[in-house]
């Protein structure tokens, strides 16, 4: 995979308009710098089950630098998926803050959080979560479809399809463009999911047990793709896993136990 072309093109966005704009200024390509790209500040979250308050996160502090590849390990039920969901704005914390590029993002209005999920964050799941009705190509296109209106989509359609095709070719699925998820193997589905996560050129990739459902060989292949992304395009990656061997691939590993962070 060393011959991979850059998956994420250098950003050409100005710092105007959208919330949290300052962090969008492109960082120099290279190894982690010192500024915190995405951070959790004293995050707490608890679930209510049968009238009982069950604390899952009890004040989690986490700072991930730009371009860092971090893995979070922990046992089942340690709250690592919950933490990832909070970072990915899929859920709201009970207290504490989620920051992106130094700005708090968990309390933004709904449409801004939707926009950040679409543009700034890419998510990969253990069960791939591709849309079964769509082909691999359409799945990769879906974040672009979501961000575009009808007319702008048709105006940019050619460009979008080209980009989605390139992404799929780069993860080795150039021959599977028109296949439905049900016609793909687990590894292929996960690679399509990675391509989808990258479609809108996010700077942060959140991976929830990306290899949890794959055999070790396929899992390593997925990891190699993530590694390459991190190395070549300086994408910040946070990967949740329960497997120490997998976690070892990352730059840094932290452990989540009983709702708080420990150094692994």
């Amino acid at each position: 995979m060393s011959d991979m072309r850059p998956l994420v093109e250098p950003r050409r966005r100005g710092g105007t308009g959208a919330a949290g704009a300052p962090h969008l200024v492109s960082a120099p390509v290279g190894k982690p710098d010192d500024s915190a790209h995405i951070a959790a500040v004293r995050l707490t979250k608890s679930y209510r089950k049968a009238g009982m308050e069950i604390p899952v996160l009890r004040g989690v502090d986490l700072e991930v630098r730009r371009g860092e590849f971090l893995s979070i390990i922990g046992q089942s039920g340690s709250g690592k998926s919950t933490l990832l969901h909070l970072l990915g704005l899929l859920d709201a914390p009970d207290s504490g803050e989620v920051q992106l590029g130094g700005q708090r993002i968990d309390n933004l209005p709904m449409h801004k959080r939707d926009w950040i999920r679409n543009q700034e964050l890419g998510m990969i799941f253990q069960f791939y979560h591709l849309l079964p009705e769509l082909t691999a190509l359409e799945n990769v296109l879906s974040p672009l479809l979501i961000s575009e209106g009808i007319f702008s989509y048709f105006r940019n359609r050619r460009r979008h399809v080209q980009r989605a095709t390139e992404l799929l070719e780069q993860v080795g699925l150039g021959h599977r463009l028109k296949h439905r998820p049900s016609e793909l193997s687990g590894g292929e589905m996960q690679r399509a999911a990675i391509a989808r996560a990258l479609a809108a050129q996010p700077q942060v990739l959140l991976a929830d047990e990306p290899t949890g459902n794959l055999d070790s060989e396929t899992g390593r292949e997925i990891l190699r793709i993530l590694r390459t992304l991190n190395d070549q395009q300086n994408v910040t990656i946070i990967m949740v896993t329960h497997d120490r061997a997998i976690a070892a691939e990352a730059d840094r590993t932290v452990r989540l136990a009983r709702g708080s962070m420990e150094v692994a």
């Binding site: 799941f125 479809l145 809108a200």
Partner: protein
Amino acid sequence: MYTLFLCWRYLRTRWIALASVVSVMLGVATMIVVNGVMEGFTREMQGRIHGILSDVVFEANNLEGFPDAAGHMRRIEELAGPYIAGMTPTVALPGQLAFEVDGQWQTRHVSFIGVDTTTYGEVSDFNRYLRHPQSRKHLDFTLHEGGYDLVEGEPDTLKNSGWPHRRQKAVTGAAKSAVALPTAVAKAEQPPPDEVVIRDGYRYRRVRQAPQPGEVVAALRNPFEPLNNAPQFDPSKDTGTGVVLGLGLARVASADGKKFLVLPGDDVKVTVPTATVPPKPSSDTFTVVDLYESGMSEYDANFIFMPLAKLQEMRGMIDRQSGIANVTAIQIKLHNDADGEHVRNLLREAFPGGYYSVHTWRDKQGPLLAAVGMQTVILNILLGMIILVAGFGIFASFCMIVAEKRRDIGILKSLGASSAGVMSIFLSYGLSLGIVGAGAGMLIGLVFIANIQWIADLIARLTGQEVFDPTIYYFQEIPTVVEPLTVLVIVTVAIAIAVQASVIPALMASFLKPVEALRNE
């Protein structure tokens, strides 16, 4: 963009959801067919009612009528002249008609309508319903030399009726009376003109009657004065005054086809009450000159048309000194764009309500038209319920789809889809299903209406039961009218119900928390 894209994709890949709109489709199709038939039925009925009745009927509230029809018409002309296309005076009078069928006299209670031969045809469409082509052009109450038009299923005895029928009947009648015994002759022979046949229990009784004073006066000026008072009345050459009978009287339908009881050329006895107090019967012999069929069984079995002057004379409505005759009604025809109710109100204001009454043709048949309208409303309510039930079907299957799609909804939200976007996927999905269902229903309904006769025949052949019995409904073909506005309303309502049914599932989808949807089981 993704909402339309996904909606389209769901529509194309999830056929099971289409099953839920089958009931919408059937409901829409049924509603279109029912409304088409009801509308056709109503129009047909109105056409027939209107065919006999003129636009506005100005009539006296009693049988005596009012004198000086010409004066009344002038007054009406002054009041509503610009709206009026034509007027004709008529006399309507209940009475009895007796005719001979297979040597037996049959008496019917009927209404006689005396019409002015020159103007009646201009005011009503009555002439259209006559059977002889010449009568249709101009009704003059004279007997024709055959050539009457037949309707399917009728024996061709009608075709050659008229004079040929009359001559032949005169020959056979003479032969019969020559060979028959005197008692039998008395039975078969037509009663003398100055006698009237009265039904007494189950027997007929002949009553000798004094000539009415009116008859004598009228005999001087009435060109239609029957010759049968003359001693040399020869049935093979002479006729009584002409009358036109409705087919409801003249024809019977039985299992082995249609049969005529009376044909043009036959003589009938007419008895009406005189205008004296107390009334006395006044009778005369008439000759049937034509038959009519308006399609309204009520009219066809009841109304018998004859020349106005003859009816006035029999009734004794003609003033001896002045020669001015009473009429009971003035039929008014309006210009096409005139408002009948406006004219009616104008006339109602000007003429005292106790003595005159003014109606539009719609008022005359108000209860019937209202009943048909009521049926349409009730059917629409019931069929609307079907579509409503179909809406609940859509609701149920949408709830299932949303439950099944929980994970996909979570994925979309994790990719940045907004709650409104997710909601609009399901709303537009409901809208598309509604459009598909209602559109298919509309097509089916329209095709059904276009081929309704064929379908009715097929059902009749399969079940042996006539769907629309022509002898009851008077329709040779099932009348249908497709009103574009009605179709539009039905389709729009059906689509609206489908969208309504998808609102709650769509809200459920939009409120779904992505974390709950994506949690790894």
